[in-house]
Amino acid sequence: MTGVALACKVVIAVLFVAAGGAKLADLAGFTATVRLFVPAWTASWAPRAIAAMIAGLEVLVGAASLSSPLAGWLNPAVLVVCCGFVAVSVIGHRRYPGRACRCFGALSGRSFNRAGVARAALLAAGAVLAVWPVSPSMLQLGTLGRLGMVAGAAVITWCAYTAAVAIGAGRAVSSAPEAQQGWVP
């Protein structure tokens, strides 16, 4: 069980960092998704600010979870974020079925559907398992190790950002600048 909890913790942390980096690369696209959930009366700049905040929060939480495994409060925090994703997936599936969720920015063309809800639920289940108490001796990480984890998180963020930009650029070449694919009434 300890191994499963550890695996869930690191996999979710890496997923957070990657997803945050990819979202930052396609902030305009992710803002469009955020706008689906923001009340119409909010200021026009709010969706973009919220989108940037979510992407930044994902990177920060993921990097913190990777580099500070002994910080016990981080696991419940990750679980709360994952529950938030489940809620968004369910609402998105009910209210905006078929719309792009841009959960991984341009890296993924997945939309709000049942499979998306299942994926979010799986992630939340993994976060529940990650809360499972693990012997502190297994989570020992020296200063060098922590710095290595932060550097690793930064590299993954950068790779996700670059890959998302490359894929977004490829789509732009194939159609119009910043165009949205799939016009199906």
């Binding site: 989570l139 070449v173 159609s175």
Partner: protein, 208 residues
């Protein structure tokens, strides 16, 4: 006696997770590179064939939910924008169309914004919800294939006789203005008409 190097369990697990993620990105980038290298020089079709007759197109107005016919039509040229409130570039296009319409530069041209999103989505975009232009949703999808809306925004200029004069992506004011100009195919310059004549032609276009 060799030295035993003990790697902390957490570090070991985290390293493998990060290596797996990096390997995944390498695969993604490699696939993307492959797509770009094997891409045909010919750009994918976007919009209907220019010079051909515009396909029949009916839509349901979001204002009164009445079904209307855009094509075939005989009451002047039309500028059709395929756009969605969830598409940032589309907002830009709709904004520009609104500005041109306010400035009177689209006078005589029936300007229609066709969305694929449900009408309730209009509320998420100030530009769409505040637009005074006509907004509709295609009544049926069977006639849409001819318009080849492979990406949005797509702007289609149709002249008074129902012939597609221009089709493609446009978001900048100058580009949209060029589409509006294309709606008047009689080429006033070619016909030897002055600017006044061109204006006259527009009026004629409205009544033919």
């Amino acid at each position: 006696m060799g030295t035993v190097i003990r790697i902390p369990v957490y570090l070991f697990a985290a390293q493998w997770a990060m290596l797996a993620a990096l390997a995944m990105f390498v695969v993604i980038m490699y696939r993307q590179l492959g797509r770009l290298l094997t891409r045909s020089d010919k750009a994918p079709e976007l919009g209907p064939a220019v010079g051909g007759q515009a396909a029949a197109l009916s839509y349901i107005s979001t204002a009164d939910r009445q079904e209307r016919q855009l094509i075939p039509r005989e009451d002047g040229p039309a500028l059709v924008a395929f756009a969605d409130p969830t598409c940032p570039s589309c907002e830009q296009l709709v904004g520009v169309l609104g500005e041109l319409a306010s400035a009177g530069q689209l006078d005589g041209i029936r300007t229609l914004i066709l969305i694929s999103d449900p009408p309730s989505y209009l509320r998420i975009s100030d530009v769409f919800s505040g637009s005074e232009l006509e907004i509709g949703r295609p009544a049926r999808s069977d006639g849409l294939d001819a318009y080849q809306v492979s990406a949005t925004p797509l702007l289609v200029a149709i002249d008074a006789s129902g012939v597609v004069r221009a089709a493609g992506s446009a978001v900048k004011t100058a580009e949209v203005r060029a589409f509006a100009e294309a709606c008047w195919p009689a080429a006033p310059e070619a016909a030897g008409l002055s600017a006044g004549g061109r204006q006259l032609l527009r009026v004629e276009g409205n009544v033919t």
